[in-house]
């Protein structure tokens, strides 16, 4: 037996082990629970009733569909706003001279900050008794906390979106900036010699060049926001709740049989994210073929 033949499988084994056992095992156990597998409470018959309950049942379906809408709204809004602002910020930073790159550092510093901290930060600043509200009161603009607009724990998820934008803008920005810096200035210069204005240079030269990086980082953000739990848990309201928060709420229900619905909802979230990523891969591979 020759080592060469086994080298690749052996080197892949640790990563594969973690993926298969921890991720795959959890997924399969979750799938079984979503079918009603709970031997501890004597439930071993498998059925699809939890999915039916969520999609059309009286007790859960209303929460599920409004939760789905809210989740899609939050994911779309935070991704779009982050992406647009990130491009603007990256373009602005690129124009700065090398020595004054403090802003590039400012773009990166929040990357390792956990989402929970971002959520609590937004809570401190934007809540009705937060820093901004207190500042307003100091300046005599406000007299009671209730006069400050409801920006966190609001029904439209504005606080949640604000926290995600704060967290994801730098992520997309760093990636776009890296691409921008690797690009030669020549493209834009030649466009300029051909008489292209600033907007035309951006629209027809720069934007197409950064689009692949922009789209793929935005997809990562979208998929993450769709399934993430911490920020909507801290900044969300009791109704409507995002799918991830609802799933945990069902999981912790005093009624243990609600765990099947919780797991079914988690499976739906996982499936949705997987489908989104698959569609993106399919679309981008088609795009590559066309441009090639």
């Amino acid at each position: 037996m020759r080592w060469e033949r086994w080298r690749v499988p052996v080197m892949l084994a640790p990563a594969a082990f973690v993926l298969v056992i921890l991720f795959g095992g959890g997924l399969i156990y979750g799938l079984l629970q979503s079918f009603g597998w709970q031997p501890l409470i004597g439930s071993t018959r498998l059925s699809l009733s939890s999915y039916a309950n969520i999609l059309a049942g009286e007790r859960y379906s209303q929460q599920f569909w409004t939760g789905l809408l809210l989740t899609i709204w939050i994911s779309l809004a935070s991704t779009t706003v982050s992406a647009i602002l990130a491009v603007a910020v990256a373009l602005a930073i690129r124009g700065l001279p090398r020595r004054r790159r403090l802003s590039a550092f400012l773009l990166q510093f929040n990357l390792p900050i956990p989402h929970v901290v971002a959520a609590i930060g937004v809570l401190f600043v934007l809540s009705q008794s937060g820093l901004l509200s207190r500042l307003g009161a100091q300046m005599g603009l406000l007299h009671t906390p209730a006069q400050f607009p409801v920006l966190v724990r609001d029904r439209y998820g504005l606080g949640i979106i604000a926290a995600y934008v704060w967290k994801e803008l730098p992520f997309i920005g760093v990636i776009v900036l890296a691409v921008l810096e690797s690009l030669s200035q020549d493209y834009e210069d030649s466009a300029r010699t051909l008489g292209a204005g600033a907007w035309q240079r951006f629209r027809h030269v720069t934007l197409p060049l950064i689009t692949p990086a922009l789209v793929s980082s935005s997809m990562i953000v979208f998929a993450f926001v769709f399934g993430a739990y911490q920020i909507p848990e801290i900044l969300g309201v009791r109704y409507p709740r995002t799918l991830s928060v609802l799933a945990l709420r069902f999981f912790l229900d005093a009624d243990l049989s609600a765990r099947a619905e919780a797991m079914a909802m988690s499976m739906i979230i996982s499936a949705a994210v997987t489908i989104i990523m698959a569609v993106y891969r399919w679309a981008s591979s088609r795009g590559d073929m066309r441009s090639a």
Partner: protein, 172 residues
């Protein structure tokens, strides 16, 4: 009943659009003057929350004269526990009058009430409990008054149903 609860909405924090997530958040809203009341389950009244710095020094507690919902801290043994006998020993230990007396005081316990019947403990045990209660001073509510108004928590089966109906008929 739902009509009555809905009629209260204009008087609630943010018109009942959402609720504080937990009692600490409620304490915070109270301290900021956003709400007029907060709640405590401590028989010692506002004292523990004041000394923890959660609410202003001027806060005072009152107890409802009827339908005061209260329960005891309890331990449960899972049906699939591997050391049931040991768990029973621990449960007995926790119920001993001297442990319960220590539990009443914030320094050595949760600062909550005791969970045993005074008429069924020995004279020494009773003396310990009463000494602890006295040490608590006058910030605590009278245990017998509280006991009179006390009603137990609702059954867990009812809780799920009420939570779901509340959300559908009041919160939405």
């Amino acid at each position: 009943m739902w009509d009555l609860l809905n009629a209260w909405k204009p008087y609630l924090w943010r018109n009942g659009e959402t609720y504080p997530a937990n009692v600490n958040e409620l304490h915070q809203l109270f301290a900021n003057g956003e709400v007029d009341f907060t709640i405590t389950q401590a028989p010692a009244g506002a004292g523990p929350a004041i000394s923890a710095g959660l609410i202003p020094d001027t806060s005072r507690a009152f107890a409802l004269q009827e339908y005061l919902i209260g329960d005891y801290n309890y331990v449960a043994i899972p049906f699939n526990a591997s050391h049931k006998a040991a768990a029973l020993v621990l449960a007995n230990l926790l119920l001993r009058p001297d442990r319960q007396a220590g539990h009443i005081l914030p320094e050595t316990g949760f600062g909550l009430g005791y969970a045993i019947d005074l008429n069924r403990v020995s004279y020494e045990g009773r003396a310990l409990l009463e000494a602890s209660l006295e040490q608590l001073g006058d910030v605590g509510a009278d245990a017998s008054l509280l006991a009179e108004a006390l009603v137990p928590d609702m059954a867990p089966q009812a809780q799920s149903i009420i939570e779901a109906d509340w959300e559908a008929k009041v919160l939405r």
